[in-house]
Symmetry: D3
Subunit: 264 residues, 6 copies
C-alpha cells in the first residue's frame, strides 16, 4: 500500500483532530504537496533548519513536528529568518512538512497527557476543558493530577530526573507539592487556572519575571522545566502512533534535535 502525505495527515488527525486546535494556531500540511508519496518520516519537536538537514541526510520525504513550520505568516521566504531558511531547504529537497500543534497539546494522549504521565501523576484530569471530543471526553490545554505529598525540593528532583532538564527555574509558593498542573511549552500565564483547579504546583516553561512573582504571591509553586524538555516526550509517542497506523512507512525519531538553550 503506497502512502501519500494525505494518509499521514489523516493518521495524525485520528490522534489529534484538527478541530481541537486554537483559532490562532496553524497545523496540517504547511510545506509541500498533499499527494506526494511518503516512505520515510522524521518525527521531531521542531522544523528548524538542522532538523530539516537531518531529514535529508536520513532520506526522509516527510517531516512531522509539533511546532508549526509557519507561525507568523511570512511576507517573504528568504534566509534572513529561521522560517525562510527551513522552507527554502525543504522545498529544495522535496521534503514535505506536516505538524500538529495545539491540537496535539489538547488531545487525549497528546503533549500534556504524556507530560503528566512522565511526571508520574495519578488521577489525571483536564482542569479547564475547551470542548468535548466525539467520545464525550473533555479536551483542553492543561492537565492536573496527584503525586505523593512531598516537599517542593523533592518534587524538583523528580522533575529534573524524569524530564532531563539540566537546570530548573522556579518560584516557591510556600506549600508542599500534592496536586500538580502541567502545561508543556509556554503556559506561564495559566497560574490562575491552576489555582482555581486546586493545584499547589504548576510545571511549564518560558516563564516570565512577573509570572514567577504573581505565582509566589498567590501561593503557587511555579516550575519552569524548559520548553523543549516538557514537550519533547510527545515525539516518541507520536512516532509510535504513526508506526501503528502507517504500516510500510519507516518512522524515525530525530537524533539531532536537542535544546539549544544552555546553562552557565
Amino acid at each position: 500500500m503506497h502512502m501519500i502525505v494525505r494518509d499521514v495527515l489523516e493518521a495524525i488527525h485520528r490522534l489529534a483532530p484538527s478541530y481541537m486546535k486554537y483559532d490562532w494556531d496553524n497545523e496540517g500540511l504547511l510545506c509541500g504537496t498533499m499527494t506526494q508519496p511518503v516512505t520515510k518520516i522524521l518525527v521531531a519537536l521542531d522544523p528548524f533548519p538542522h532538523v530539516c538537514r537531518e531529514a535529508k541526510e536520513k532520506g526522509a520525504d516527510l517531516l512531522v513536528t509539533h511546532h508549526p513550520l509557519i507561525f507568523q505568516a511570512p511576507k517573504s521566504v528568504t534566509d534572513k529568518d529561521m522560517t525562510g531558511k527551513s522552507i527554502l531547504f525543504l522545498a529544495a529537497n522535496g521534503i514535505a512538512a506536516v505538524n500538529a500543534h495545539t491540537n496535539l497539546d489538547c488531545c487525549h494522549g497528546g503533549v500534556n497527557d504524556v507530560l503528566a504521565r512522565v511526571l508520574g501523576l495519578a488521577e489525571i484530569t483536564v482542569p479547564s476543558p475547551i470542548g468535548t471530543d466525539e467520545g464525550g471526553h473533555p479536551y483542553g490545554l492543561l492537565r492536573a493530577g496527584l503525586t505523593n505529598k512531598q516537599p517542593l525540593s523533592q518534587f524538583l528532583d523528580v522533575v529534573k530526573e524524569r524530564l532531563g532538564t539540566p537546570v530548573l527555574r522556579y518560584a516557591d509558593g510556600g506549600r508542599p507539592v500534592h496536586r500538580v498542573a502541567v502545561g508543556g511549552g509556554s503556559c506561564g500565564d495559566c497560574y490562575e487556572e491552576a489555582l482555581e483547579a486546586g493545584c499547589d504546583t504548576l510545571v511549564t516553561a518560558d516563564v516570565k519575571y512577573n509570572q514567577f512573582w504573581e505565582a509566589q504571591t498567590l501561593g503557587l509553586n511555579l516550575i519552569d522545566a524548559g520548553h523543549f524538555y516538557t514537550e519533547n516526550p510527545v515525539c516518541r509517542v507520536l512516532a509510535e502512533s504513526l508506526r501503528q497506523k502507517l504500516p510500510g512507512v519507516e518512522i524515525l525519531l530525530s537524533e539531532s534535535h536537542k535544546d539549544c538553550m544552555k546553562f552557565a
Copy 2:
C-alpha cells in the same frame, strides 16, 4: 564583476525606490538569498508557475517581476494555491525572486509613465501625488496627459492598437477624448481622482460593474484595457534599465507570459 541578488535589488531601487511603495504592498527579495550570485535574470510581469518554469528552462538564477510573489502572507506553502506552487518550484530550483510593485507604479519612468507614453500622451503630470522624490519631483499612482481631441471611438482604436488588447470594455461618458488619466492594473476606483484632475477619460483595468456606471453617470469615459496589457509594457523598460546598470548580467524578457484571459 560578480553580481549578487543585493546588487540587482539596489539597481531596481535606483529606478523605483522602496519608499515609494504603498504601506500594504510587498516588494524586494521575496524568495531566496540576498547573497546568491546572479548571472542571468528573467524579467516578467508576474511570478506565476509557467514563468518560473521558463526561468528554469532558460537557466536564469533570478526572476524579476512587477507583481509580488507573495501578496497575502501565506499560512502554508503548498500546491493548493498559485503562490505555493511558485515558491515550491523556485526554491526547488534555486531561483530567487525579486519585485517592485507599487514603487514601480509610482516612480518616474515606471509602469504609468510607460503606459502614458505608449498611449502617446503629451504634457504628462502626476495628478494626485503621494510624495516627492529626492529630486523634488512628485510621484504617485496615476498619470494624466493630453491627446488630440477626438471622438471616443477613435481613441479606443488607438488604445487597442498601441497596447494590443484584443477586446476593450468601456463606458461612454458622453464626451470627446482630450485629457486622459491612466492607471495600469486595477485603478477603477480612481474615477473621482480622474475627474478632479480635469480628465474626460480614464484608462485602467479590472473595472467593476458599479465603476462603469458611476463613471458614465459622472461623465467620464472609462476604458478597461486589460491588467496585463496596461502593465506589461513596463517590463521592456525595466529590462533595459537593468541591462544598463548590471553589465555582465544577461537580462531576458519573458516570452512565455501572455494574458490567460481570452475573449469569446
Copy 3:
C-alpha cells in the same frame, strides 16, 4: 384592496426572506415611506438615475430592484455621486425604492437559481449553503449543476446565446465542461468553493486578473459573462412573482436599463 409599500415588501420577503441576506448587505425600504400607497411598480436590476427617470415617466410610485440604492452609507446626498443623484430624484418625485439583494441571490428561486436554469443546468444544488430555510432547504450564494459534457468552446456559445452577453472573458482551465457552478454578479473569488464542489467551470462576472490566473492554474474554467447579463434574468421572475402576489398593482419591467459596459 389598496396596497402600500409595506405590502410589497412583505411580498418580496415571501420570496427572498430578509434573514437570508449577508450581514454587510442592505435591503428593504431604502427610500420613502412604508405607508405610501402603491399602484404601479417598476422592476429593474438597479436603481440608477436613468431607471429612476423611467419610473417617473411611466408613473410608477415604487421602484423594486435587486441592487440596493444605498450600499456604502453616505455622508451626504448630493449630485456628486450616483447614489445621491438617485435619492434626490426619487425623493423629489415621491417614488419609493425597495430592494432584495443577497437575500434574492441566496433564496430558492432567486438570482442564482434563475441563472442556473437559464443556462440549462440539471440536478441543481447549493454547494456551500449558509443556512436552512423554514422548509428545511439549504440556501446560499452559488448553485452547481450538470450539463452535457462538452468542450469549453461549445459551452461558451451556450452562455453567450442564453444570456445575451456580447463578449465573454474567460480563462481556460484545460478541462471539458460538465459540472458548472454559477454565481451572478461578482463571485470571482469563489473559485476554491467551485473546485471543492467538484465543478470544472464557474460562470460569474467582474472577474479580476489574479482570479483568472488562479483558476487556470488550479484547472478551473472561469467565465466572466457580465454582471448585468448574469443577474438581469431574475427581474422577469421577480416581476412575475409580484404580479401574482399583488393583484391590482401594475408591475412593469424596466425597458431603459441595459448594460452601460460596451466592447470594442
Copy 4:
C-alpha cells in the same frame, strides 16, 4: 450677481474653515446640488423637519445650519427617523442643506466666542487649542474668560437671563465664580480641561449624572444651560456674516425653531 450654493459654502468657510472640524464630524453641502442658484437662505441651529417646513413656507432655496443634517451615515432615507424625514422633505422641495459644525464651534467668532461674549466674559482665551489658523491664532473648542468674582447663585441668574434658559441644572463645586470655561452643546466631559485651565466654572449642556458628580468632587461648578440655549446665539451672528458676504441674497433667521425640551 447670481449666487449658487458653492458661493454660500465659500462664504461660510471664510468664517469657519473646513480644516477646523473634527475628524469624526460632517459639514458642507449635505443635501442638494453645488450649482443650484440661491436667492433666499434660512439660517437655523438644526435641520429638523419643522425647520425644513419653515424653509419651504418662506420660499428659501437653501437651509444653513450649525448641526449637520447627516451625522450617523444612514443605511436608508425613510420616515422612520428624523434625518430621513428631513432629507425626503428637502429633496422633495428642492431645498439644499449646508452646515458648519465643529468648524463653527472652534473658529474665531463662532459658537463659543459668541457664547462667551453673550455671558459677558472678558479676556477670552482658547484654553486647549487644537491648531493654529492662517493668521497664527489658536483655535479650539472651549473658551475661557473672566467675570467679576461672584457667588454661584448670582452667576446662575446671569446665565439664565442672558441665554434665556428656563431652568438650569447645575452642580455646586463650592467655589465662587471668577474664571469661566464655556463649551456650547455637549462638553460635559471637558471638566478636567476646564480645571487645568484654572477655571472654577464650566457652562455647557447635555451633562450626565457622573459628570455632575465628578465636577463637584473636584471643586468645579458645572452648569447645564441647555444645548439649544448655549448654541443658538451663533445663528444671528452667522446670518449677519452671510448678509455681509452675500449681497443680493435674502438671509432669514428661523422663527419656528425653539427648544423642544420643556420643564415641569
Copy 5:
C-alpha cells in the same frame, strides 16, 4: 453565624445573578478582600467619596452599591479623580465595596421593576429581553406597563410626586399617556425600542438634545426624571432583600446620598 464578603455577594447574586450583566459592565467585589468579615453594611446608589465617609462614620465594613466603584479601568489610583479618591479612602479604612449594576437593572425585582412599580404601572412586561433566567422568565433592561390613559401633564405630576424629582425635563410627543416604558439611568437611546413595544411614553434620565428631538418627531413622550431619582428607589428594596438573606448583619441605608444636581 459569622458572615464574610463572599456571603454577601452570593446573597446579592441570588437577586441579581452575575450572568445578567452586560459584557462591558463591572460588578462584584471591586475593592477589598473576599474573606473579610462583615457585620455592618451600608447600601447606597453610588460609591462616591461622601458615601464612603458615611460608611466609615457609621462603622460599616462593607459598602453595597448599584453603580460600580470602577467603571473605566484606571491607570492610577490617586486623588485626581473621583474613583481614585473613593478607592484610597475605602482601602485606608478597611471597607470593602461590592456592587450589582446592569444585573440589578435587568433582573426580576431590580431597578426597573421597582421603578415601574413606584410609578404604579400595571401588567409589567420586559419589552426587549436579552435572556431567560433559570425559572424561564425573560430578563432585560426596560420595563413596560399600563397606566390609566391621561394627559401628559397629569402623568408628569405623578412622576414628580412618586420619584421626588424637583424638576422634570421632557419632550411632548403629542399623545396621551397610556403605555409607558421605563429605564432607570441613561436609557435615552431606547426611544425606538419603546416605540416598537407600543409605548407612547418613556421615562428615563440623562437624555440628550437629539434624543428629545428624535422622540418628539416620532411621537413619543420622553421624560427625563433624573438619574438619581429613577434608580435610587432600588436601594431600599436591595437593603430589605439583604436583611432577609443575611440575619445578624446590620443593613443601613445611606442617609447622606442625595442628588448633587440642582435646578435654578
Copy 6:
C-alpha cells in the same frame, strides 16, 4: 524645605523625562496624592507586596520603583492578584507609589546605560534610538558597546560575576564576543535589532524558546541574565540621583527585594 510627592516626581523626570516612555507604558504617580508630604523614600525595582511592607516597616511615605504598580488597568482592587494586594496595602498605610519605567530604560544614565557600564562596555551607543532629548542626544531602549574580544564562555563568567545572576541561560551563536547589545528586562525579541547594529551578543532576560533558536540560527549569542539582575543595578543610581536632588529627604534602598526565581 518640605517636600511633597510632586517634587519627587519632578526630580525623577529630570533624570527620566516622561516623554521618553513608550505609548503603552505607565509611569508617574500611580497611587496616592500629589500633595502628600514626603520625608522618607524607599527605592526598589518593584512595588510588590513584600516591598510595600518593607516601606511601612521603615517608615517611608513614598515608594519609588522602576516597574509600575499598575500595568494592565484593573477592573477591581482586591487580594486576588498581586497588584490589588499592593494597592490595598499602600492605601491602608498612606504610602504613595511613583515609578519611571520605559522612560528610565531609555534615558541617558538609566537602566540600560547602567547595565552597559556594569558589564564594562566601552564606546556605548544607542543602536536604535526612538527620539532625541533636549540636548540633542538620541535615546532609546538598547545600548551597544565594545568589550575585549573573548570567547563566549569567558564573557558568561563576566556577566555572572558582575550582575550576580546565579545561573545564566544562553544560546551560542558560534561567534566570539566583541560587540555587545544590552537590554535589561524582556528584550528577547530585539535579536534582529542587535544583529543590524553589528553586535555578536545580546544580554537580556525573559528569553523564550523560539528567540533562543532564532538567535542561534542567525549567529547571535543570546544571554538571559535574569530580569531582576539586569535591571536592579539602576536602583542604586536612581537612589543616589534622588539624594542629590532632594536634600532633607531620606532615601533608602530596598533590602528585602531579591529575585524570587530560584534555580535547581
